[in-house]
């Protein structure tokens, strides 16, 4: 299942904290798409996903971060 988390307009550390909470709700095979306009969040959220062992893709133009729960 695909989920979307919109954290546009939010700055450190809320995009990371909200993503961390949302990831707890997901199951294997789910995809979480995070929309952010705060570029530094792409690095913290990527590190969070990698630490969890999940795949991460970033669409640079709009800062869409896609995490696939494995």
């Amino acid at each position: 299942m695909k989920y979307e988390l919109n954290v546009k307009g939010k700055v450190c550390p809320m995009p990371l904290l909200e993503t961390k909470r949302k990831l707890k709700e997901l199951k294997a095979g789910d995809v979480l798409e995070i929309l952010t306009d705060y570029e530094p969040a792409t690095r913290t959220i990527s590190l969070l996903a990698k630490k969890c062992g999940y795949g991460v893709e970033i669409e640079n133009t709009a800062y869409v971060i896609r995490i696939e729960v494995k």
Binding site: K8, G9, C12, L16, L17, R21, T44
Partner: protein, 161 residues
């Protein structure tokens, strides 16, 4: 260029400026630099140590600000995420320049940071900024030292125990 701190709020009753529920004071960078210069003039040779200590206090408060936000939200952050948030996000969004964590080993510990366009880049020894970096690491990892290993348009700092 882009708009930043999009949720910066000014409370028109109290005059408080808030971003992500933390209070901010916006000052032109010149005010900041002038303060550093005045400290140097007043305390002379003691200035580097004093600026370093002030920086440590600021760095510790940055970490505590993130911890408080996480606590209020009911989450905790691992050491590496906390350091990344503090260095690359909190300092960046405060206007301290482009900061990149080039190496992070929380076990040793050893941290290498690259800082471009810091408002204190012309300050000899970058004592205040060195203190901020050390303060962040100290608050997360216990007492740490910070050395500026390269000085120029881009400065490189190393944090060790």
């Amino acid at each position: 260029m882009k708009r930043t701190l999009p949720n910066l709020l000014l409370d028109d009753e109290t005059g408080e400026l808030l971003a992500s529920e933390a209070r901010f004071v916006l000052l032109p960078a010149g005010f900041f630099i002038t303060s550093l210069e005045q400290i140097g003039k007043i305390v002379g040779q003691a200035a580097p140590a004093l600026l370093f200590r002030i920086g440590c206090g600021i760095g510790e408060e940055y970490v505590n600000m993130i911890k408080r936000a996480a606590d209020e939200y009911g989450e905790t952050l691992d050491t590496d995420l906390l350091l990344l948030e503090a260095y690359e996000n909190a300092l960046y969004q405060s206007g301290f320049g482009m900061i990149r964590l080039k190496d992070l080993d929380v076990e040793k510990p050893r941290i290498i940071l690259e800082v471009a366009n810091s408002p204190t880049k012309d300050e000899k020894g970058c004592d205040l900024f060195r203190g901020i970096i050390a303060g962040i690491a100290t608050e997360v990892l216990g007492e740490c030292a910070c050395n500026e290993v390269e000085h120029g348009e881009t400065c490189v700092f190393e944090v060790v125990k």
